[in-house]
């Protein structure tokens, strides 16, 4: 993960109107999307989120202003667009607009064939993308027979296979039911942790608040805020005039802090972060097990799963699990309440889990953990 402030994509004074429209869909937008920063574009229906996204990889050309990718101004020649799209991939809101293949694996291979990749490499990439999105089982299924949630995962798989530096996702969880959105968010979290810069649009303030490092708020085509979420949500008139509401956790933290007379910062963004801030008393231990160590899990604790591979393994082996989704939050919730819990996760996800625990430590709860097969931490 790069911590540098290198600007990956930026726009300068960008304006755009659709043909026959009297109003500007985007008005004088100057935005910087930084490498490795979890960026959310927040805005109500019709604020210009999707229109902005289509500017970023050159699908739409601005009327005024420019787009820069890695410091180079985007020209709209074929060669430049090809270069831009090899680095920046957009996952559309409506999966039906982006599925072209007859079968699941065929669809994932589609873009790879388009850029002339060798057969062997395509096979390898497809395999990996299927695995990461949990679609391996249905690789030969016709794309016409997929559920909405499977289609959403398929277009993400298509994106993963392209290994873009920047992944732009338009409302990735819209229309998904709660568990499926959490599953998609887990995939996104994993991709980000492994070095893909992710930009997503949403109007779900709870989701934006929990996930984003930086939010950019659009209102009727204008960019009205860029920065950390808390500053924006503290400015009620701005929140309301942009069609948003306050995230639940933000409201509750604010009230509790004003009651107790303590500072609102550090701002908890998730339930477990909020609990970590409030908790006192002994904590349970979080036992982390990768899939190789499933046999060694001690008995008597609640078991949660985190990560696509872990989920699949648990399913295949028909293991009894208490929290088959949102495993991290629910297991850690147990630990904060003083009971031990076990989290089965992909080996690659362990550092991510440790990182998430470190955020809770900053909130005030040091949750002891040990990783099976690695000695005690």
């Amino acid at each position: 993960m790069s911590g540098s402030d290198l600007v990956n994509i930026s726009t300068k004074n960008l304006s755009f109107s659709y043909k026959y429209s009297y109003t500007k869909s985007l008005n004088n937008i100057t935005i910087n999307i930084k490498n490795g920063v979890k960026t959310v574009i927040l805005g109500s229906n019709g604020a210009g989120k999707s229109t902005l996204f289509f500017q970023l990889n050159g699908v739409i050309k601005p009327d005024i202003g420019s787009v820069k990718i890695d410091g180079v101004t985007l020209k709209y020649r074929r060669k430049d667009l090809k270069f831009a799209r090899s680095k920046i991939y957009i996952v559309f809101q409506n999966p039906d607009e982006q599925i072209f293949g007859q079968t699941v694996e065929d669809d994932i291979a589609y873009s790879l064939r388009n850029i002339g990749m060798s057969k062997d490499l395509i096979a390898e990439r497809v395999e990996d993308a299927l695995f990461q999105t949990g679609l391996t089982e249905i690789r030969e299924k016709s794309t016409l027979q997929l559920s909405y949630g499977q289609k959403k995962r398929l277009i993400i798989a298509g994106a993963i296979a392209m290994r873009p530096k920047v992944l732009i996702m338009d409302e990735p969880t819209a229309g998904l039911d709660p568990q499926m959105s959490l599953e998609v968010m887990e995939i996104i979290e994993y991709l980000h942790y492994n070095g893909t810069t992710i930009v997503m649009s949403t109007h779900d303030v709870n989701l934006a608040y929990a996930w984003a490092d930086e939010i950019n708020v659009l209102r009727k085509g204008e960019l009205i805020y860029t920065g950390v979420p808390e500053t924006f949500f503290s400015d009620l008139p701005a929140v309301y005039s942009s069609g948003m509401i306050l995230p639940s956790i933000f409201v509750i933290n604010k009230s509790i802090c004003s009651m107790k007379g303590i500072s609102e910062a550090p701002h908890p963004r998730t339930e477990t972060q909020l609990f970590s801030k409030l908790a006192s008393g002994p904590k349970g231990t979080l036992i982390i097990a990768d899939i190789k160590n499933i046999e060694n899990i001690p008995e008597g604790t609640h078991i949660g799963v985190f990560g696509v591979i872990a989920k699949k393994t648990v399913n295949d082996r028909k293991l009894k699990v208490d929290y088959c989704f949102n495993g991290f939050e629910l297991c850690v919730g147990d630990c904060i309440s003083g009971t031990n819990a076990t989290l089965i996760c992909d080996a690659g996800c362990i550092p991510l889990v440790e990182y998430k625990l470190s955020i809770l430590r900053n909130m005030g709860s040091d949750i002891p953990y040990r990783t099976l097969g690695r000695g005690d931490a």
Partner: protein
């Protein structure tokens, strides 16, 4: 006991004979008049299929559907009568919009139910206002966004003023404020006598709004009753592919920390805050003002102002009076008061008593703001 509004007995339905399992399997529900009912379930659980049974669009393969105690008779005349009283707004507005312009589309339903021409004009205005689409009357439906079409479809349902309103995912795809506006409209409609049944997979919404929930999983009903008991059974929630509402988990955590009982379950942010408020906290007052036909004289007050209800909203918008809480105002005003500040809430005459008792019912959770 009163006859339920809707009752199904061993209802079973499949779309075709090749299905591996029925879309609805042995469903027994009894929804009573005036009860805020939510049908909760993941995508594909059978929510929409169930709704189509209730207004006779689909006919059960086995079992019966009763409306007001009488089995639905699928003859043309009685279906016509049924649909005059029971209105379903489907999830995807494009399946329900038939006309070229917004006003024509809303008039379509009104004409069909035999409303007098002179009333139609005002009904269209009112219905569009309720969903925050007042300026869009003459617009072609092809030129408005999906979220706006969704609101037009809802306005069409509100306009016919049905006895029962069945809404399939009314807030899906709408941004947060628009969702609040739509929920406020639904709230007012249900307070003023229409029975409302909603389907959703938004657990926070269901938890905050419903008196009763009916949980579907793979076509089977796995729970019916008040929401608190369902969400306290984590295993069932997870197996139904749902999530636990924020208010529920915050409450359950805080209660376990303090060693208190989880009941009564707070279901909104304001109820959670009320419950955790220390007993010596200073609580503000809520000045509840019933708006009449004329523009209220706000005078000089340095309190925050919230508005609730169609009439009030219209008065404030027409006169350009300043408002701090334009939407979800009851909730906002309560939180403001719990934080120790006085607030003023303007609301429609017809719902004021209900709002008053809603604020007072906070006393079951802890210290509640005084209403003056």
């Amino acid at each position: 006991m009163a006859v339920p509004l809707f009752e199904t007995e061993n209802l079973e339905f499949s779309y075709n004979s090749r299905q591996s399992r029925p879309s609805l399997d042995n469903i027994n529900i009894a929804i009573h008049k005036g009860v805020r009912a939510v049908v909760l379930g993941a995508n594909g659980a059978g929510k929409s299929t169930l709704f189509y049974q209730l207004n006779g669009v689909l006919k059960p393969k086995k079992g019966v559907v009763k409306y007001n105690g009488k089995p639905i008779d699928y003859s043309q005349n009685s279906l016509y009568a049924l649909r005059n009283e029971v209105c379903v707004a489907v999830q995807n507005p494009d399946e329900q919009i038939f006309s070229v312009t917004v006003e024509e589309d809303i008039a379509f339903g009104l004409f069909n139910t035999g409303v007098h021409r002179e009333i139609i004009d005002k009904s269209i205005d009112d219905a569009l206002f309720k969903v925050g689409m007042a300026g869009y009357r003459k617009k072609p439906v092809s030129q408005i966004s999906k979220g706006q079409r969704k609101r037009v479809a809802l306005a069409g349902a509100f306009a016919v003023n049905p006895k029962v309103l069945i809404l399939d995912e009314p807030t899906a795809g709408l941004d947060p404020q628009t969702s609040c506006e739509v929920m406020e409209a639904i709230d007012q409609i249900s307070i003023t006598g229409t029975s409302v049944i909603i389907s959703t997979h938004d657990v926070d919404l269901a938890y905050a709004w419903a008196d009763e929930i009916y949980v579907l999983k793979n076509g089977k009903m796995i729970y019916s009753g008040e929401p608190g008991a369902f969400f306290s059974d984590k295993k069932s929630v997870i197996s139904a592919e749902l999530a636990i509402p924020h208010s529920f988990s915050v409450n359950s955590y805080i209660c376990s920390m303090r060693g208190e009982s989880e009941t009564p379950y707070p279901r909104t942010d304001s109820q959670v805050i009320c419950k955790i408020l220390p007993s010596d906290a200073k609580v503000g007052k809520i000045r509840l003002i019933r708006t009449s036909k004329s523009v209220p004289d706000i005078g000089k007050i340095d309190e925050r102002i919230g508005i609730y209800g169609f009439n009030t909203r219209r008065l404030f918008m027409d006169s350009g009076l300043p408002v701090d809480y334009n939407f979800n105002a009851v909730e906002h005003c309560i939180i403001e008061a719990l934080n120790g500040n006085n607030v003023t809430l303007y609301c429609d005459e017809c719902i004021a008593d209900k709002i008053d008792s809603r604020i007072k019912s906070l006393s079951q959770f802890g210290k509640c703001p005084e209403v003056i």
